[in-house]
Structures are given as structure tokens and as C-alpha cells.
Amino acid sequence: MDESESKRDPAGTDAGLNQGPRTVPLARRQFFEKLGWVGVALLAIFTVPSTLRFLMPRRAGAGRTEFDAGLVQDYSAATVSTRWIRRHGLWVVRDHSGLFALQADCPHLGCTPRWEPQSSRFRCPCHGSLFSLEGIALRGPAREPLKRVAIRRQGERILIDPADYVSLEDAESRGGYHVMI
């Protein structure tokens, strides 16, 4: 095959194997080449989204997440109760009119702050953010206040739902995040 002939080969796939007229076998070859790419595309269409879905974490079902946090009078002694910190990651705080629950999750990068009774502050060990009793960011990289967790009173019992938490702003505008005692 000379140079001028190879230039006429539009697909560039012919390495001199075909001696006869080129148009028919090339069209056939190009067809199968395209078919191959269609196969690859179909494979991608079916496998890429399902692989991504596979990597997505499973979502928790609509199970009951609210727990019984004990009697109202259990929270009368201390300002901040740390009894649920390990199991549910929240504090129950007593203020002048009642109770509210703070999520123990630093709004900066998600570490768990510590309650410091001497200074009545929550301090994050990771980057030193400091929060007031109301969960307002006083210092450090955190700018937003700690989240409020849904809390309600049923007779003499306190019920808390750790899966239901909102910003301080939303907690103040909606009900369900403060219990009067």
C-alpha cells in the first residue's frame, strides 16, 4: 500500500490487510467499532449511577429516635446536665424559665466541646471555640451557635429527640425546643 492510498483511508484502521475494494469492509468495521462504543456507553449508563448509589450511605429509617430523659426534677440541681453526652451527644441546660437541649457538636468542624462548670462555658478541644450557656459562640473559629435539640414535657417526664435539631434562630421562632418548668 503506498502513501496516497493510506491517506484515503478515512478511519486509519486499514493496515494493508484488505486487498479488495475498501468501502464495504471499512463500513462494516466502523459499524462494529461504533457498536462497541455504544456497548461501553450502555454499560456506563447502567453501572455508573448504580455504583454511585452503592457508595451513598444507607439512610436511617423513620424509626423512633425520641428517648425518655427522665423526670423534670432530675434537672433542677445543676445548670448543665451531662448525663446524655455519651449516648446521645447533647446537654440539657437549665435556664431561668425552663429547660432546653444543646447538641454537643461544634459548628466549626464537628468536634465535641466540653462543659466547664468553673467558667460556665462550653469549650471545644479541637480549635478552642468557646460557647456560652445558651450555646452562643463567644470566641474562636466557630461563628454559629450550638444547635438546639427538640425537647418536650409529658406530664412529669422529659422527652428528647436527638434526630430533630435546628439552629438557635429556628428554635426561637418555632415551638418544641424549650420546656417551661
Binding site: 457508595l55 451513598m56 450511605p57 439512610r59 468542624l109 464537628g110 468536634c111 478541644p125 479541637c126
Partner: protein
């Protein structure tokens, strides 16, 4: 005049000649043939100018990174034999490696320190290339490959950091993955976010919204399988391109 030594006899066997197509090179041309016909050596140039192997040219930083990668590969595979990536076992397995397993402490520390050193070596390598202007054409593509390798090195370091499952690991990864939640497009707190908290970059990394058992196994798979498979591929391209782009001293 055939040599009668056992070594020479071995080199004439059919087995040997089937593996090694070229004999002991006798001249420059045969030396080139040896390099070109070997899958590992062909990544290298067939001829290296003496000036380009002067220490001051590269400070051997790329080579040091490669050496550390090899050390990490060997020690990492050995550590995998004793390490089980579940919250109940991970921490105690590391304690056991440190205290009970013969040479476990040595292996673990080799792995840990080599990992830290590799991050430093790779960053120093990048700085050297930058200050030498070696990212300029025709090597701009190799610079890009290098950036991917740097990111993968950092990602290896980050994913490996969680595996001891101690307090430092736990909170470092909490902080690091929360940063991923602020990534543009793919983080639910980031600018132009297109995903919610249950399906963003952090959730895919952690397998949930907190660092737990799902996060540990995902980091383990990334650290021990995914990244170590991708990286040698990019490394091969990286080394090959050094040769193809004209070597250390090339000026265009």
C-alpha cells in the same frame, strides 16, 4: 570460546533467554537494547547525561519519594496481616502490634514515619521542580500528573491517619471530613452545593454523617486498595514522561 562457568551456562539456558532477550551488553547500542526491552527499565532514559545525576540538580527528592513509597508498600502489606478495620478491634490490634507481635512495633513505626517522610519528600520535590522552573513546557503535563500524585499522597496520609482508631485519629478525621462538607458543589455546606447532608462528599467518605464503623472500613479500603492501585499507574506515567520530555536537563 564458550565460558564454562555456571553463571555463563545459566545465561545460555532456554529459560534464561526466554526471559532476557539481550545478553550482557558489550557496547552502547546493546546497553540501550537492555533498557528498552525491560518493562521496568524502559521507563528510564537509555542514556543519562552525567550532569543530570548531580545531586544538586534534583536532591534525589523524587527518588526518595519512590523509595519511601516502596517501604510503605512492603510494611503496609505486612501490617494488614494483623490489623482488622472494625471499631472493636482496630485500636487493640494496633496495641498488639506495638506490644506483642514480634517486630510489630518496628513495622508500624517504619510505616508511620515513612508515611510522614513521604509527605515531606513529595512536597519538597514539588518545591524543587517549581524553583527550577521544571514545570514549564514541554513538562507541563508531567507537572499536572505530579499534582495528582501529591494529592493522592496527602489522601493516603489522611486515610491512614484514621486506622489506629485513637482519639487523635477520630477527631482529626471528624475535622477533615467536615471540611469536605464545605467543598464546592459536592459538600452540602459548600458554595454551589448540589447535594444534601446525606449524599455529599463527607457522607460518601464516611458512609454516614459521623465517624463510625462505616467510615473506618471505607478509609481502610481507600488506604489499602484504591489509592495504592491508582498511584503506581500515575507514577509509571510520571517517570516515563521524565524520559520522554527530555530528562532532567532538557531545555526547549
Amino acid at each position: 570460546m564458550r565460558s564454562k562457568s555456571p553463571l555463563a551456562w545459566m545465561r545460555r539456558t532456554r529459560l534464561w533467554t526466554s526471559v532476557f532477550r539481550t545478553g550482557i551488553p558489550q557496547d552502547t547500542r546493546e546497553q540501550h537494547a537492555v533498557v528498552l526491552s525491560n518493562v521496568f527499565l524502559h521507563l528510564h532514559p537509555t542514556r543519562v547525561p552525567a550532569a543530570s545525576i548531580r545531586f544538586i540538580r534534583t536532591f534525589c527528592l523524587g527518588g526518595i519519594s519512590l523509595l519511601l513509597f516502596c517501604v510503605l508498600l512492603v510494611t503496609g502489606v505486612l501490617l494488614m496481616i494483623y490489623y482488622r478495620p472494625t471499631p472493636e478491634l482496630a485500636y487493640t490490634d494496633i496495641q498488639e502490634l506495638e506490644a506483642v507481635v514480634p517486630f510489630g512495633q518496628l513495622l508500624r513505626n517504619l510505616h508511620r514515619w515513612s508515611g510522614h517522610a513521604m509527605v515531606l519528600a513529595v512536597i519538597a520535590h514539588m518545591a524543587r521542580v517549581f524553583y527550577a522552573g521544571a514545570y514549564r513546557p514541554p513538562r507541563e503535563f508531567n507537572w499536572v500528573i505530579g499534582v495528582f500524585l501529591l494529592v493522592l499522597t496527602l489522601f493516603l496520609s489522611f486515610t491512614g491517619y484514621l486506622l489506629p482508631w485513637d482519639q487523635l485519629a477520630y477527631w482529626a478525621v471528624t475535622v477533615g471530613t467536615n471540611m469536605a462538607a464545605s467543598a464546592p458543589f459536592l459538600g452540602h455546606l459548600g458554595p454551589f452545593s448540589v447535594v444534601d447532608a446525606g449524599g455529599d462528599a463527607r457522607a460518601i467518605l464516611l458512609g454516614g454523617e459521623v465517624v463510625g464503623a462505616d467510615a473506618l472500613i471505607r478509609f481502610y479500603v481507600l488506604h489499602c486498595v484504591v489509592i495504592p492501585v491508582v498511584m503506581p499507574l500515575l507514577m509509571a506515567i510520571h517517570f516515563y514522561r521524565v524520559r520522554k520530555d527530555g530528562g532532567v536537563l532538557a531545555r526547549y
